[in-house]
Structure formats: C-alpha cells, structure tokens
C-alpha cells in the first residue's frame, strides 16, 4: 500500500528525518489558515508520479495566488486521479539534490540501500548512476556509511547523509515497508539536508500487524485500498474482451488467459479465487469464493461466455459441478446467463459431466479442449 506524500512525511517527522513545515489543504478555505510564511509550494496529493510535469505543483507568493492555484490543482487530474488533499509546504532553495531509497530487492532477497548525488525528477533516466548497498546481515549504521561513500560523499556529508539513511532503514524495518524513498533530498550550501519529497510503500502482508504502530504513529496507514482488499479478497479484473475466466491461482489464471489470447479469444474479465494455502482465506471457504467469483462474472454485461478452470488436491469435480449447477439454476431464474465451460480434473468427472450436461454446461478435464469449447460458444461474429 502506497502512502501519500504528506503521510510519508509525517512518518519522516516521527523518525527525525528533516522535513519542511507543512500543512494539509483539504478544501480551499484551509488556505486562509496557512501559518507557513509565503512563498509556499502547493502540491497535489496523488498516488501516481509525474505530478510536477503535469502541473500538480505550484509556487505561490500570497493568499490570492494560493487560492487560485489550489483550485486549479484540485481540478487537475493526474493520470486520471483527482487529489483529495493538497500539501502546502515552505519553499526551500536547494543547492544540490540527492536521491536516497531503501527497497526490498527480491533478486538479492535482501533490503537494498540506494543513493545518488544526482537526485530530482530525472532519476528514472539515471538508474545507472544509482549506487547500491545490499544489507546482507542485520542492519548496522556502517551499511549507511558505505552507501554515502559509494555515492562519492566526503567530509561531514558522509555522517549527515548516512544518519538519514539509518533513519530511513529503521522506518523501513519497523513498519514493514517495501520502499521508502527521498527524492529529492535537498542539500543547502551549508550542507544542511531536507527531504523535499517522500514516498513510502507498506508491504500489504504486514498491514495486519502494523495496526498498533499506526495508532501510535499514523492512523492513515490502515486506510485506503489495502484495508479494502483485505476484507474482500475476491475481485474481478475487467479487460477489453467478452470471455469471462474463473480460475484458482495466479499462475494458472495467467496461463489460461494466455491460452485464450493465443487462440484469438478476447478475455473480458477474470476472477482469481485464490490459491489453496492462504491463511486469511481458508480452503473451507473455497466454495463460497467460487460462488462469489461466478456472481462477479455474471454481473459483467460484456461477458458472453465463461470458462471455469479449477485444479487442486481437494477439489472434487462432482462438488464443483453441483455448486455451479445450483448457482446457475438459482441465478438463471431471474435473468439469462452466459454459457459456461467447466474444466476440472478428478475421479468424479463422469458424475460432474452428468450433473452439468443436464443443464447444458460442458465439462472436460483437458485444458486445451476447454479453451476450444469456450471459443466455440461465442457468437460467430464476435470471434
């Protein structure tokens, strides 16, 4: 779960990472309560990047300018998203801009410290200039100093920058982050450091145990999309086509979609009812997840055929067939449903076939056959 800039900076403040005085602007009249002296920077608080180039950051010299700029930013979509909050911050004159980050590296299977003396908006084109230090053993501040040295820093800046990296790492470890990034870290002519922008991504698996911390530190940690995704783990992803796919497991779902595309089909939505080993959704509720998933596909008006592809050691074809048959009969009372192809594997396949064929649904244990059959059920012109 990504945090907004002002949330990230609130965490920075608590960790002792230097940030500028700032205020949240939730509505235009908040501008009048600004206690930060002008000039002030107003920044759109959206999750996507590139807001500077899109015009979501404005410098203002007085209240009148500020209200006009805030109104503009509130109505400026960035990558399609409107901000709910702006951040008003003191203006800061940087002599130089550094880049610092701590990120979880799946390849090294360790946290990695990243840094560059060339920070700012061009960092994405400068990955080659990023220096890295892998935190192979338990963290100790010498890793942070090592990064400062690799960045080419000298003298007092070594300790000043490594002190900030150390705090970033503690935030990273304490809050189970995927990423904490400061870009730019402004360096004043006298060597003073200031985090001008901040990005924090919390690992979703850890949200459940950061509840207490977030109460102490920042209640926003548990708001937003992640909390939602925890309470309803089954979601339909809509695509541009007309075939609905219900499958269990991300890999099998992707492979099934790939097969449909390769056969010139156009998936219109898919639901991954999940693997068998997630503790948060015990297997005992697999049945209810299949039902939820089917309903989600039934709700999509673009879907003209549904492919159900389920594999696993505890899936009985007969049970799946009974489940689907019951649901189709129940939902079919009130509306017409798209045709369904069911692919499952097991000893009771014959029984499943009987159950499903009686209501006009084809069942097979071969994936290729299921793909072919699914496509054949589409109206001819649609292919």
């Amino acid at each position: 779960m990504e945090l907004l800039e002002y949330q990230a900076k609130e965490l920075f403040r608590q960790m002792g990472i230097p940030v500028l005085p700032s205020q949240r602007i939730c509505q235009l009249q908040d501008i009048k309560q600004l206690t930060i002296p002008y000039p002030v920077v107003l920044k759109s608080q959206v999750y996507t990047g590139g807001r500077g180039k899109a015009g979501g950051i404005r410098f203002v010299e007085n209240t009148i300018d500020a209200i006009a700029a805030a109104q503009m930013i509130f109505h400026l979509p960035i990558m399609g998203k409107y901000p709910e909050v702006l951040l008003a911050e003191a203006k800061y004159d940087a002599d130089r801009e550094f880049y610092l980050a701590v990120v979880l590296d799946g390849s090294e299977r360790r946290p990695v410290l990243l840094g560059s003396q060339q920070g700012g908006i061009e960092i994405e084109s400068q990955f080659d200039r990023l220096h890295q230090v892998i935190v192979d053993q338990e963290f100790s501040p010498y890793y942070a100093r090592r990064l400062a040295i690799r960045m080419g820093l000298k003298g007092d800046l070594i300790q000043a920058v490594s002190a900030i990296v150390e705090k970033m790492y503690r935030l990273f470890a304490t809050c189970d982050l995927d990423l904490v990034e400061i870009n730019p870290l402004a360096v004043s002519p006298s060597g003073k450091l200031m985090a001008l922008d901040g990005k924090v991504t919390v690992n979703d698996t850890a949200l459940g145990r950061q509840a207490l911390l977030s109460e102490f530190t920042h209640p926003l940690l548990l708001q937003g999309k992640a909390a939602q995704s925890q309470t309803s783990p089954i979601a339909r992803v809509d695509l541009a086509g007309n075939i609905g796919v219900l499958c269990n497991g991300a890999g099998l779902t992707m492979a099934t979609l790939d097969l449909l595309y390769k056969a010139k089909g156009r998936p219109g939505a898919f639901v991954d009812v999940g693997g068998e080993y997630r503790q948060s959704c015990p297997t005992s509720t697999l049945e209810s997840r299949i039902q939820q998933g089917l309903d989600l596909l039934f709700e999509s008006h673009d879907i003209q055929v549904i492919l159900v592809n389920l594999l696993g050691s505890r899936l009985s074809c007969a049970e799946i067939a009974a489940l689907i048959a019951a649901q189709v009969q129940q939902r079919g009372k009130y509306r017409s449903l798209p045709p369904i192809v069911v692919r499952c594997v097991g000893e009771e396949l014959a029984q499943a076939k009987t159950t499903l064929e009686s209501i006009g649904i084809l069942a097979t244990d071969y994936l290729d056959a299921a793909i072919t059959e699914t496509l054949s059920l589409l109206p001819v012109k649609q292919i």
Partner: protein
C-alpha cells in the same frame, strides 16, 4: 537434499486449518509424519501423530527430524522457522501465504548461516512421486519418473505435472518455490540440486512474469546446467500492474545490470532464448519438448 520415503517429517501448525487438512493427505501418501507441533496443544495426538508444544520436545521424543513443513499463521512463520533451525532441522518448507518479507529475510539470514534449505513461503511444497508429499500438491496428478519440475506457481504446477503424467513422463520431484517476493530458495539453487540429483534426467522450469527470477535462472542454466531444461512462462497477456512485481524491485534489478525491461514476458522469453532453453507455447506442448530434449542428450 534429502527427500525420500524414509525421511522423518514434522508438521509445525498441525492443528491450524491447513495443517489439519493436509496432514492426513500427506500421511495417506506414505509420508512419515513422526510428530506435530502446536503450542498449547501438546499431548493430544492428531491422526495418530503425537503433538508437542515445542519442536525440541518433539525431537526429544521421536528423534531426528529431516524436514519440517510449516502451516502456522503468517506472523508466526518466522518464529516457527527459527525454532526449527535452532532445533537443528535443516530442511524447512513454508506453505503459509502472506508472510511479511522482512520476516523471510531474517529466516534466510539464519538459514544461510546454518546451511538450512528453506522452501517458500506461499508455496505448494515438494512432492517426490511415489515416495513422499511435503505440502499440498494433488498427488493424483503425479507419476514417478525422471523429470524434475521447478515452479513459482501453485495450481499451474499441477497443470503441468498433469500434462507430463498424461504423456507418461513421470517426475523425479516437483518443487513449488513459492510466489512471494522474498523466496527462501531460488530457481538457481534448485537447478543446482537437480543437476546433481541422480533421479532427474530433464528439468521443467515454470516461470511467471514479474521479478527477475527467470532471467537469472536462464543465465545460470547457460553457465552451469548440463541437464536439458524446458521452460514455460505464464503472463504474456497479463494486464499491466496486475501481476507485475513492484516498481522498487524493478529499480533494484535495473541497477543490478539486468536491463530496463526486466520482469516482462518478453525479457524472460529472450533470456531463455539466449540460454537455448526451449519455451513451451502451452502446457500441453511441454511433454513433446521434454521428449525432444531427452532424445538429444
């Protein structure tokens, strides 16, 4: 690697929902589950398996343990794994999904220091067809044989095992290394293990988009693997961001010099091409490719 019908197995979290479901299935497959651990549940056997409060109590009672299979809830996985390592268990399989990655990093550091083989988290475990089941693979999809199967997926692994089995190509072992960002054992580690395994004559590697595991594996195959390898890849058509790895990981991969496009199906496909690893177009094509590479040996 020490996975045979003689292996002595411990189940940590035997009374957790998944542990309670899969333990009897593993037992039914002939796996020698000699003990279970469930803190607070010690003394009450489950499916005739003695249950203990602590791993060290289990070992004191039943003797040496070769492998522990962990089913405890996500936030208890790190402690369970460290407890197993402290009790000298040197093979650990973590089935649980949703383990915080920094917990896995701590387990990994300890595993490396103690030369412990850890699989997972978020994985279906290991099956050695005809010998033992350590996890949740559906055993009816598998057949004893000579093909080693390594996969990042769960159910897709079963799909491919099924295709191999239907084609009469049995498996020496199948390992789901897991789908999480921090994986305790990598494709490389398992490629090396299967390269040295006498039972394995060919290897099927099942990858997904996201991360750089497949790219690294391809390079590794080109450099040190002599046994034939066939790959399969899922996610050519996946919508952007839906299954992709995290931007931060991509940043880090780029810095590691793995190219800007890392993680995409195209990048992985090209990596396999460079390594001269045939990539199957669909699961049902895999048996043909395996037969072909085996004939070339």
């Amino acid at each position: 690697m020490n996975f045979t019908a003689e292996s002595k197995i411990l189940i940590q979290g035997i009374s957790e929902p998944l542990g309670a479901i899969y333990t009897p299935l593993m037992q039914a497959y002939g796996t020698q589950i000699v003990a279970g651990v469930s803190p607070g549940g010690g003394g009450k056997p489950i499916a005739d398996i003695p249950v203990f409060d602590l791993v060290e109590q289990a070992i004191a009672k039943v003797g040496r343990i070769d492998t522990s299979v962990i089913f405890v809830p996500p936030y208890e996985v790190m402690d369970a794994a460290l407890e197993a390592i402290a009790a000298q268990i040197r093979q650990i399989i973590i089935i649980t999904e949703g383990v915080p990655p920094l917990d896995m990093v701590r387990v990994l550091r300890k595993a490396e220091a103690t030369e412990t083989l850890v699989v997972g988290s978020n994985c279906p475990g290991i099956i050695v067809p005809g010998q033992l089941l350590l996890g949740i693979h559906p055993p009816e999809f598998y057949l004893p044989g000579k093909v080693g199967l390594i996969s990042r997926s769960g159910t897709l692994t079963y799909e491919i095992a099924l295709e191999l089995t239907r084609a009469g190509l049995g498996q020496s072992i199948a390992i789901g290394i897991g789908g999480d960002r921090i994986l305790s054992s990598s494709f490389q580690q398992w490629l090396q293990i299967l390269e040295e395994d006498d039972q394995t004559e060919a290897i099927v590697l099942v990858g997904e988009i996201g991360g750089d595991s497949e790219e690294s594996a391809a390079r590794y195959i080109a450099e040190v693997i002599d046994k034939p390898v066939v790959a399969f890849l899922a996610g050519y058509s996946a919508p952007q961001g839906q299954f992709q790895g995290h931007a931060g990981a991509i940043v880090a991969s780029r810095i590691a010099g793995l190219g800007a496009d890392i993680g995409s199906a195209q990048s992985k496909l090209e990596a396999f091409k460079r390594a001269q690893v045939p990539v199957a177009d669909r699961p049902s094509q895999i048996p043909d490719l395996v037969k072909k590479v085996l004939e070339q040996v």
